[in-house]
Amino acid sequence: MELLLTDEQRQLQDSVSRMFAQAGGVKRTRSLRGKAGGFDREIHARMGAEGLFGILVPAELGGLELGLTEVALVMIEVGRALAPEPIAETIVAAHVLTQSGDAALREVLFEQVVGGQRIVVPAFADRRVGARPAGAVIGDRLDGVLSQAPHAAVADGFLIETGARATAALCHVGSDSAGLGIASVAMVDGRCYGRLRLDGVVARRVADNAGVEAAYDLALFAAAAELVGVMSAAHDMTVEYLKTRQQFGKLIGSFQALQHRAADDLARLVSARSFVFQVAGQGLPLSSAMASALKVHCGDKALEVTKSAIQLHGAIGFTDEHDIGLYLKRAMWLSTWLGNAAVHRTRYMAMQV
């Protein structure tokens, strides 16, 4: 169903789409798989230069001062292009930094983060029931283990969630901090995250408990929008394949069983897209229950659509050389990051008013 967008919003969407296409599209993503960091700092910096990380940043701080709809439009294009840069992470980090009361910190970090020169990623604790809290602040030092910090091996710093739920905070830690150990883990989509070990690391508090949840909810929203982009490109590619591949002397897209499968996938996609834009329409602050619901829905639907895309491609879809598998793999990461559907169904029930 048609999105009712302003001309400015359409231009934003087009410009992001064009930027990734010019950078090489999915071919670029493929070429960066498994490389150190798995993304291109230059593209990241170019996005910063175009102001894309400042979508939510107030104009007085040099931002675009736009809203969640624009975040969604950008993240959908990121998802469609499988752009490997830490874009959701940077939008969240920039937002956290603008909300921070710590003016000195803002001066040091904010400009470089929003400009895309410095990569600072939020590293949230595992929200699974029974998962151990990520770390503890002892005096002004951090101790503990964090299971998952995206792009850790090449990030310049982290916004680390610490402490138990009620006393949680986000603390900034530079990647060169003494006492910080990073073990890099390869992700299925060709990028890496890191396991962080903190051993008396000096850190600076950036956000308190409410700020942690707000940042987490914003990350959920961005991930959900990216999932919509991922499934939408996979679905387009699949429908195109159905219109070109022949078997039994006919285009396979003329077989009703495959048509109905494609129609069901379209319903999944349309529902996820409407969900993202209706949540966007409610503006900030996000409701935590709604953010969790959105993550569940978009994660599940993206996995369903990308798995279906492989099935509809048949044997060629099971090869590494065909791009369709890349979409499934990105959907696997995005639906896992920040907690899977099981985690967020529980959070949804707990957070409901």
């Binding site: 169903m1 048609e2 159905l242 494609a262 129609a263 529902s271 409407s274 529980t346």
Partner: protein, 383 residues
């Protein structure tokens, strides 16, 4: 969920809510089968006198010229009290068609009686041999100079046995290709000689439908609506509004409310496995609500809804059926009772709600037809 009433709308909602709570008879609340005509129509007429029976009609035809937001508020508030289904073929389907295509005489004759509830209308589209494939209908109307002579069989008339008049699609050109180019839209008084009505009970034991046998039925020429052989367009022109009605998340949310009441009453509410299933259901319905409010925004903005709105019906009917399945599950060993279950004083018809929901994926264009539409008209798949 994705909609906050504006100031005027909030006042309207308050007005509707308090009026309904005072005026909707207790005995008509929470009914899953249709009450009989004698029991139901006073309520229809009460709503009509209040001016709320045809909120979407223009004021000069007796409607309230309500905004879409107000129409939805009315629908939501009626659903909140589990108000009974009304005979809405006249108000929802024929009315808007006559307003657009009717002659001044047709409007004058029929619209007031729809509003007042004096005349109940049936919809005569389907035939025993023409269900999903409606364009192949064979009930034929022969031109006899000053009237048509109609012969054929119509089926699945909701509340047909209680109806006074029927609007129908009939074949007026049997040689036309494509087949739907030979179909006309006309009105028939069901008291006309030659019409036999057979009631049909559905699987939820509700006498929901009728079958109409038409043998040499005389239909005056002035009962033709729109052009001769132009009936297909007349019937299909105003479907977007109807799709919004059938895709409302309200129907599933009503079932969820009952699930939660039953679970609270029998203790299952604290079971983590139940909670997880409830979460999955509520999240799916929330996504459906997003589609619904997205569609409302499109229509309210004066834009066409587009054929991909068929996805709303697929998603909505899946959710409704999933909700009624969880309702059965939460009923435990009482999941096959026809007796209403008691949820702390509120009686809940679990099996009837479940069985009624089976219709959702069959009527109003089956799920299979919706998928065909999406595959061909939206995705452009071949064949």
């Amino acid at each position: 969920m994705f909609h906050k009433d504006g100031a005027g709308d909030a006042a309207f909602r308050t007005e509707v809510r308090s009026w309904l709570s005072e005026n909707l008879p207790k005995g008509l609340r929470g009914r899953t089968a249709r009450p009989r005509r004698a029991e139901l129509m006073p309520w229809y007429q009460a709503l009509s006198r209040r001016g709320w029976i045809a909120p979407h009609w223009p004021k000069d035809h007796g409607g309230m010229g309500a905004t879409l937001a107000q129409q939805i508020i009315l629908q939501e508030e009626l659903a909140r009290l589990s108000a009974p289904q009304l005979p809405v073929q006249g108000v929802n389907h024929l009315g808007p068609i006559l307003i657009k295509y009717g002659t001044p005489e047709q409007k004058a004759q029929h619209l007031p009686k729809i509003i007042s509830g004096d005349v109940i209308w049936a919809q005569g589209y389907s035939e025993p041999g023409a269900g999903s494939d409606l364009a192949s209908l064979t009930t034929r109307a022969e031109d006899q100079g000053d009237h048509f002579l109609v012969n054929g069989v119509k089926i699945w008339q909701t509340w047909g046995q209680y109806a006074d008049w029927m609007f129908m699609l009939v074949r007026t050109d049997s040689a036309a290709t494509p087949k739907h180019a030979g179909i006309s839209f006309m009105l028939v008084d069901l008291k006309t000689p030659g019409i036999t009505v057979r009631p049909i009970v559905n699987i939820a034991d509700d006498d929901e439908f009728a079958q109409m046998f038409l043998d040499d039925v005389v239909v005056p020429k002035e009962n033709l609506v729109g052009p001769l052989n132009g009936g297909w367009k007349v019937a299909n022109d105003l479907l977007a509004h109807e799709r919004l009605g059938t895709s409302s998340p309200q129907w599933s949310l009503e079932v969820v409310a009952r699930i939660e009441k039953l679970a609270a009453a029998n203790g299952l509410i604290d079971d983590p496995v139940f909670q997880d299933k409830l979460a999955a259901l509520k999240i799916a319905i929330t996504a459906q609500a997003a589609m619904f409010w997205h569609a409302v925004g499109i229509i309210a903005g004066g834009r066409p809804l587009g054929p991909d709105s068929s996805t709303m019906k697929l998603v909505g009917t899946d959710n409704l059926q999933a909700a009624t399945e969880l309702l059965i599950e939460v009923s435990g060993v009482h999941g096959a009772d026809t007796e209403r279950l008691d949820a702390d004083g509120e009686p809940i018809d679990v099996t009837q709600i479940f069985l009624q929901s089976r219709r959702a994926t069959i009527y109003g264009g089956s799920s299979e037809i919706q998928r065909n539409v999406l595959a061909k008209r939206v995705l452009g798949l071949p064949g």
